[in-house]
């Protein structure tokens, strides 16, 4: 803070010179020893302590008001009531978004940073998929967006035989060693400043080529400040060797390393699971879990409408945030016309949404599914009754009317004078035969 008065800049004063020869400023002080007003003002401002925060608002809440409460003393009433302690309203550790719009905006912002390969958004993104929903729509979208931002895309392929010519393709199958592969990746990355490296099977990367994940991560994220995206197929089973029985499974290790984890699901399955949970039924299982022999992939796998994925963002602060998103199929209209020499134009607008914003998930389809399921169950029950019973268990309308007309004893007891007690109220009808003897018992 610079304090200027009377054209004096106090910061510019050579204080050492001033202290060694005070005669320089002697003229500033008046003959009678009084200081000029501006100097007093300046001194006040310097001496006054700067308020640190707003201390007046801080109230200390003692656990107990005083020590007397610690000692038991016999209270005359015999009942000792605990004096309510003053509690502050619980302070929330993190600010939460206030409205739904803010919440959606926040979640989508996090997602689009990762999808668009923004710098340092997520150095290592792990995509966990299975046969029910492959990660390819998601990775294709990530690559498309990376290319639209002129980022060098490198694919380390263990499974894909051909990719788009705009992508730098490194075949990793066919007996290539880990060292050679790393070298190739390094060469491919050094072409451009920023890169996106996609490994299409992390399992094979670790198993077949013996690359340590840490080394690759160090190469991609630390040395080139780029982004690594890895796919792990959940349904490929890890080998179990006796010599590494205590080592963590690969998937656990990747999940530990990853800064963002996407878990892919088929939209049809998510809808079915929701319909089941709304009826409190057990969630259906899909794919290899289905149990039918010979079934490899379930019928509604890889839903063409889009891909559902649960994302776990691990923020730099250490706070994890988890949301479920829906990425619909990409259309040409989502991207602008590509510039010459570019494969993909720029993205017009983020089209990934939260799963709650998907109409099919949020309302009518699911509800109608639920209803139809409920109807099916009920109609089954109705027909079951008809079929399985030899008795006619239903009643006619007339019988129902008569049943409704019966006044039960407790209704009578609730009248003002207590009614007539426990007397059985019965109106004799035509066919009734009053039996005296029976009544006497």
């Amino acid at each position: 803070m610079t304090y200027t008065a009377h054209g004096l800049d106090f910061e510019a004063i050579g204080w050492t010179a001033l202290y060694t020869s005070p005669s320089l400023v002697r003229h500033l002080i008046a003959e009678d020893g009084t200081l000029p007003d501006w100097l007093i003002e300046y001194r006040q401002s310097k001496l006054e302590p700067v308020p640190f925060g707003d201390r007046r608002n801080i109230t200390f809440v003692p656990r107990a008001k005083d020590c007397t409460k610690w000692i038991k003393n016999n209270c005359p009433t015999g009942i000792r009531k605990r004096v309510p302690e003053i509690r502050l309203p619980k302070k929330r550790s993190m600010p939460r978004p206030l409205t739904i719009a803010q919440y959606q905006g926040h979640a989508l912002h996090l997602l689009s940073r990762v999808l668009n390969i923004r710098l340092n958004a997520s150095p290592f993104t792990l995509i966990v998929d299975d046969l029910s929903q492959r990660a390819t729509p998601l990775t294709s979208e990530i690559m498309r967006r990376a290319l639209s931002r002129n980022i060098n895309v490198v694919v380390v392929a263990f499974e894909a035989a051909d990719v788009d010519p705009a992508i730098h393709y490194i075949p990793a199958y066919g007996g290539i060693t880990g060292a050679q592969l790393l070298e190739k990746i390094e060469v491919a990355m050094s072409e451009r400043q920023e890169s996106l490296v996609v490994v299409d099977s992390l399992y094979d990367l670790v198993n077949a080529t013996d690359i340590d994940m840490g080394v690759l991560f160090d190469l991609v994220a630390t040395r080139f400040a780029s982004t690594l995206v890895g796919i792990y197929h959940q349904d490929i089973l890890a080998d179990q060797y006796p010599e590494n029985a205590y080592a963590p499974q690969h998937l656990e290790y990747f999940q530990y390393l990853a800064t963002t984890i996407f878990t892919c699901k088929s939209l049809a399955h998510v809808l079915a699971a929701k319909a089941a949970s709304e009826r409190s039924l057990a969630e259906p299982t899909f794919g290899l879990l289905q149990g039918a022999e010979g079934v490899v992939q379930c019928l509604d796998a890889n839903d063409h409408r889009g891909i559902v994925f649960t994302a776990e963002f691990r923020r730099k602060s250490g706070r994890p945030e988890s949301e479920t998103f829906f990425l619909r199929e990409t259309l040409i209209s989502d991207y602008n016309e590509p510039l010459p020499l570019m494969r993909v134009g720029t993205l017009k607008q983020e089209f990934a949404v939260l799963i709650d914003q998907v109409p099919a998930y949020a309302n009518e389809v699911v509800i109608s599914l639920v209803k139809s399921a409920a109807d099916a169950v009920e109609s089954n029950q109705a027909t079951d009754d008809l079929i399985e019973s030899t008795f006619n268990l239903s009643i006619t309308d007339k019988q129902k009317e008569a049943r409704d007309g019966v006044i039960l004893p407790y209704f009578d007891a609730q009248t003002a004078n207590g009614g007539e007690g426990g007397r059985i109220l019965y109106d004799m009808s035509m066919e009734d035969d009053f039996d005296e003897e029976e009544d006497e018992i």
């Binding site: 035989a161 199958y173 490899v296 796998a301 839903d303 040409i332």
Partner: protein
């Protein structure tokens, strides 16, 4: 009867090869064999020179070129395929082989049969082998042993190749017929590559020849040769895929091979991982299984077809105008293999003549 008319209309979209490069996976179970389906693939590929139906538009635009076939079989012999093709598809595979449309790589005789197939082709198969004899039941479903059975012949697999080398040279003189004499993958690769060289280009106008490579149960190598890992097998498939546009892998998907016992056995793990990995790589998965509700007199089994349209690194986006959606990818049909080898394919509930 023209071969293409042997393919039921409902089956047509399932066995039509996709336009671009693709890997297809066919799985079968012990009760429901997929040999009839493979025959239909061969049928469709070989018959696509004919102008009438049964050929995809893409092939038509490539000129009159059909699709050449390399069949690599570890579980069946040439004789079996020849008979099945004649019965089921009305095809003469011998002629196709002579014309250079087809090549056959025999992975069974030299590797797994005790006599190495030195005797006459027809007789020894049923007489001396440890593998179950290949016969066609009256119902038209070929009976076949489980994949694990040939594993018992593993010791012989290592001894046979040495004394069988002359056999291979004589076999290669036979047009388009090759014999694998070692379970080694490099040998398999080179054999397939020589087979590719044998095939004649189907059309003179185009430079790209379409070739369909059919690998019939390569997973048997996982059982017989423990040094082969599932990933090395899939790498081989991918390496071959760089030159061959279409690869069909047939594998077993029986529960004992896919679901794990505790503790998991290496073969279970290897087989499971192989099938799952090929399924991940493949564009279309065709699974054949028995009827869930039990045996029926007029239904042989269920065929389930699922598609994975988007490949990794496939950056093409769909415009609004090209709406060629055929449902949600997956569908199921029932099929019935008749005694004469013909196949009826129909929807559930549509048991009429189809």
């Amino acid at each position: 009867m023209s071969p293409s008319s042997r393919i039921p209309p409902l089956l047509q979209p399932c066995i039509r090869l996709p336009k671009d490069k693709s890997i297809l996976l066919v799985t079968s179970t012990l009760g429901a064999s997929a040999n009839w389906l493979i025959i239909r693939f061969i049928c469709d590929a070989l018959s696509s020179t004919a102008k009438d139906g049964g050929l995809s538009d893409e092939i038509n635009t490539l000129g009159e070129g059909g699709v050449n076939i390399i069949l690599v079989s570890w579980m069946q012999e040439w004789e079996f395929w020849k008979q099945e093709a004649r019965k089921g598809g009305g095809l003469d595979l011998d002629r196709a082989k002579r014309e250079g449309r087809m090549a056959f790589v025999d992975g069974l005789r030299a590797l797994f049969l005790p006599d190495g197939g030195e005797k006459n082709e027809n007789i020894p198969v049923t007489k001396t082998t440890q593998t179950p004899p290949v016969r066609t039941l009256p119902g038209g479903i070929p009976a076949r042993g489980p994949a694990a059975v040939p594993a018992r012949t593993t010791p012989s697999a290592s001894t046979i190749p040495a004394r069988n080398l002359p056999e291979q040279t004589s076999a290669s003189t036979k047009q388009g017929h090759y014999t694998l004499c070692s379970p080694d993958l490099a040998h398999l690769k080179s054999t397939i590559q020589t087979a590719v060289a044998h095939l004649t280009p189907t059309s003179t106008s185009t430079t790209t020849t379409k070739t369909l490579l059919i690998l019939d149960t390569p997973s048997i190598l996982l059982a017989t040769t423990p040094t082969i890992s599932p990933s090395s097998l899939t790498s081989l498939v991918l390496t071959l895929h760089t030159t061959l546009p279409h690869i069909l892998v047939h594998s077993h998907a029986d529960d004992p091979l896919l679901s794990l016992s505790t503790p998991p056995q290496p073969l279970e793990l290897a087989h499971h991982n192989f099938v799952v990995k090929v399924a991940h790589m493949s564009r279309r998965v065709l699974s054949v299984r028995v009827l869930d509700t039990g045996v029926a007199r007029d239904v042989s089994g269920v065929l389930r077809v699922t598609e994975n349209k988007v490949g990794l690194g496939d950056l093409r986006v769909k415009g609004k105008e090209e709406e060629e959606d055929d449902g949600n990818g997956g569908r199921e049909v029932l099929y019935y293999v008749k005694g004469d080898g013909s196949v009826r394919v129909f929807e559930r509930g549509g048991g009429g003549d189809g």
